[in-house]
Amino acid sequence: MTEKVSGPRLLEPQPANRGPEARPHRRLQLKSLGEVAALIALIVVFAALNPTSFLTPQNMRTILELASLPLVVGVGSTLVILTGSIDLSVEGVMGAGGMTFVLLTANSRGTADLGFWALPAALLVGMGLGLLIGLVHTALKVPSFIVSLGTWFIGLGIATLLYGDSGIPFLSDAALKSWPTRLTIGLPNAFLLAAVIVLAGIAVTRFTRLGRFAYAIGNNEEIARANGIPVGRYKVYIFVAAGACSAAAGILASLQLGQGSSTVGNGNLFTTIAAVVIGGTSLGGGRGGILRTAVGVLMLTVLNNGLILSGVSPNLQSAVSGAVLIAAVLAAAWPHRSRLRIVK
C-alpha cells in the first residue's frame, strides 16, 4: 500500500436542509438545572430553619470538608458508571489504601516512614485493586458488580491483615494530621484536594480519549467495539483510575482521622452511588458526568448536615434522607415521563 492517492474532493459541499430534529450542540444543558435547583432549594430550606447556624462560614467549611471524601470517591465511581459498570469496592479499597499510607508514614507503631513516597505507594495499592477488578471483569467476563463486590472484601481483608493486632497506628506528624482542615484561600485543604480531583476528572471526561471512550462504552459496548475502541483496555484503565480515587479518599480519610483503620471507608459506598444517581448520571451508562456527581454529593452533604442542624430526631434522619432522595428523583423524572420511557 505504497501509492498515495490525494483523492479529489469527491463531491463539492452541498447545501442540504437540516433535518427537523437536528439541534446544535449546547454547552449548558437545561436538563441539568433541575439538580442545581434542588440543591439551592435545600440550602434555602435549611437556611430558613437554622437562621443562625446554617449559612455561617464555619458551617459552609464543614459542609465542604464533609463533601470532600464522597467527591473524591465520586470521580472514580462516575467514570466507572459512565461505562455502564459499577464499582462496589470503594470501602475496601479505601481501607487498604488508607492503611498502607498510615503504615508507611511516621506513625505510633513505627512501622516505616517513607515520607512522601507513602502517597504513591498507597495509590498503587488502590490501582492494583482496580486493576484486579478490571482484568477479572474484562478477561473473565464476570459482571463488575460481583468482581468489585469481591474486591471490596479483598481490600478489607488486606486492610485487616495490615492492621493486625498490635494496636492502632496513629499518625505521628501533627502537621500532617491537621492538613485536611487547614485553610488555604479560605477553604479547607481537603476540599481543595477534592476540587482539584473533580476538575481533573471533568477535564478527562471532556477532553481525553479515556473520558470520551468511557461515554462511548457506556452508550453501547458492542458499537463502541465495532468503532475500533479497545473496550476491554479502556475499562481496565477506568477501574484503575477509580481504584486510585478510592485510595486517595482512603488516604484523606486517614489524615482526617489521624489514625489508620481498616474501616475508614465505612458508609462511603452508598453515599457516593446515591450522589451519582441523584446528580442524574444514568446507572445504565453513557449519560451524566462528574459535575453532576459533584452537585449530587453537595445535595447529600447539605442534607445530612442540615438534618443534624435542624434537630431532626436521629431515628428519623434516614427516613428524611430517603424521602428527599425519592422526591428528588421523582421530580427529576416527572417531566420526562412518557408511555414509552424505559427506566431500570
Binding site: N59, I63, T181, Q256, G258, T263, N266, I308
Partner: protein, 344 residues
C-alpha cells in the same frame, strides 16, 4: 445435668464482633493469653458484625464435635438464646458478654449457659458525666455521641450520662447524635455539631473511646482543643498518651477503665471452669451468673494507676491471678453486683 469434660477434649472459643476494633483486638489478645496459660487450644470467631455469621460460625465449630468452652460478645441481644441453645445441644459451656435479653437468665436455662457478664453502662455514663461536669465547674454545654442506635450498651451509657447530669442543673446536654461506634462518623457528626452550636460547646461525651478519637480530631480541626473537654468509656492507649501529654490543656477529663482482654478471659475462664467441673453453675448465686463487674473511673489525677495494665507482661501475670482468684475476684475488676442492669 451435664458431665464434666476432660481438659484434653476442651476447646476454648472466643467470639468477637469484628477483628479491627481495638476493643475486639484486645479481647482476642486476652483469649490467646488465657489459652496459653491453660494450655488449651483456642479458636476465634469473627462475627463480621453480623448476627447470622456469628451464629452459623459458632454452630460450624460445634458441629465438629468439639467440646467447647465459649465466650461470646454477642452482636445483638437477641442472638443469645439461639447461641445458648446450640451450645447446650452440643454439650458445651458458654458465657455471654455484653448483650442478652434481660429476662433470659442462665439459671432458667441450665448449666450450659454458665453466665452473663458485663460492665455497667449506667455506671460508665455516670462516671464520665461526673468527670466532664466537674471539669466544667458545673457549668456549660455538652454534646453526646451515641453508638449504634439499637445498642443496649450505648443506651445504658447515655442513660447514665443523663442521670448524672441531673445533679448539675447548669450543664446542658445540647444534642445527642448516633455515630455508630465509628471514629470517622464521629468526626463528621462532631463537625456538624460544632457548626451548629459553634463556641457554645464546652464538652463532648462519647459512648466509647473510638468515637472520642474522631471527635477530638474534629475539635482539633476547629482549633478549639484547648477549650473543649472530653469524656468517654474505655481509655485506650492513644488516650492514655493524650492524657499523659496533657493534650489540649488536659482535654480528656474522664474515662472509665476496663479491658477487652480481661472481659474475654473472665468469660472464657468461667465457661472453662464449668466445663471441667471446677464450678457447678447451678450452685452459684444469681449474681455470679448475671453479673456486673467493677468499672474504674479514671481522671488525669489517678491515671498513673492504670498505665501498667497495657504492658504485655502484666497481661500474662493478670492471667495468673485470674486463675488463682477465679473469675469473680480478680482485681482491678471484681464482681460488683448482680444483673440485669436497671435503668435509672
Amino acid at each position: 445435668a451435664s458431665q464434666p469434660i476432660d481438659k484434653k477434649d476442651i476447646v476454648l472459643v472466643a467470639s468477637v464482633i469484628n477483628t479491627t476494633n481495638p476493643y475486639m483486638a484486645s479481647m482476642i489478645q486476652g483469649a490467646q493469653a488465657l489459652s496459653k496459660k491453660l494450655g488449651v487450644p483456642l479458636q476465634i470467631v469473627d462475627s463480621e458484625g453480623s448476627s447470622q455469621t456469628e451464629i452459623s460460625k459458632i454452630q460450624a465449630i460445634l458441629a465438629q464435635g468439639k467440646k467447647v468452652a465459649l465466650m461470646v460478645n454477642t452482636v445483638a441481644s437477641s442472638d443469645a438464646p439461639t447461641i445458648v441453645n446450640a451450645v447446650k445441644a452440643a454439650g458445651g459451656y458458654v458465657s455471654i458478654w455484653w448483650n442478652k435479653p434481660d429476662d433470659y437468665e442462665p439459671w432458667n436455662v441450665g448449666n450450659n449457659f454458665v453466665a452473663f457478664q458485663k460492665y455497667s453502662g449506667v455506671q460508665s455514663g455516670e462516671c464520665t458525666a461526673n468527670a466532664l461536669a466537674k471539669s466544667l465547674n458545673g457549668k456549660g454545654n455538652i454534646v453526646a455521641l451515641a453508638g449504634v442506635q439499637d445498642s443496649t450498651t450505648s443506651q445504658t451509657r447515655v442513660a447514665g450520662l443523663k442521670e448524672a447530669l441531673k445533679a448539675y442543673p447548669n450543664i446542658h446536654l445540647l444534642d445527642t447524635q448516633p455515630a455508630n461506634w465509628d471514629p470517622q462518623q464521629a468526626l463528621q457528626v462532631t463537625q456538624s455539631l460544632l457548626a451548629k452550636y459553634g463556641n457554645q460547646v464546652n464538652g463532648v461525651w462519647s459512648a466509647d473511646d473510638g468515637m472520642t478519637v474522631g471527635s477530638i480530631q474534629a475539635v482539633q480541626n476547629a482549633g478549639r482543643i484547648n477549650d473543649v473537654k472530653f469524656a468517654s468509656d474505655g481509655l485506650y492507649p492513644p488516650e492514655i498518651k493524650d492524657m499523659q501529654d496533657h493534650m489540649g490543656n488536659d482535654a480528656i477529663v474522664g474515662e472509665t477503665f476496663h479491658r477487652g482482654y480481661m472481659a474475654a478471659a473472665i468469660g472464657l475462664y468461667t465457661a472453662y471452669q464449668a466445663a471441667t467441673g471446677a464450678i457447678d453453675p447451678s450452685k452459684l448465686p444469681h449474681e455470679k451468673r448475671d453479673s456486673l463487674f467493677q468499672l474504674e473511673c479514671v481522671t488525669p489525677q489517678n491515671l498513673s494507676d492504670y498505665t501498667k495494665y497495657d504492658d504485655p507482661n502484666y497481661i500474662s501475670s493478670w492471667m495468673d491471678s485470674l486463675i488463682k482468684d477465679g473469675p469473680w475476684n480478680t482485681p482491678p475488676t471484681p464482681l460488683v453486683a448482680g444483673g440485669p442492669e436497671k435503668l435509672p
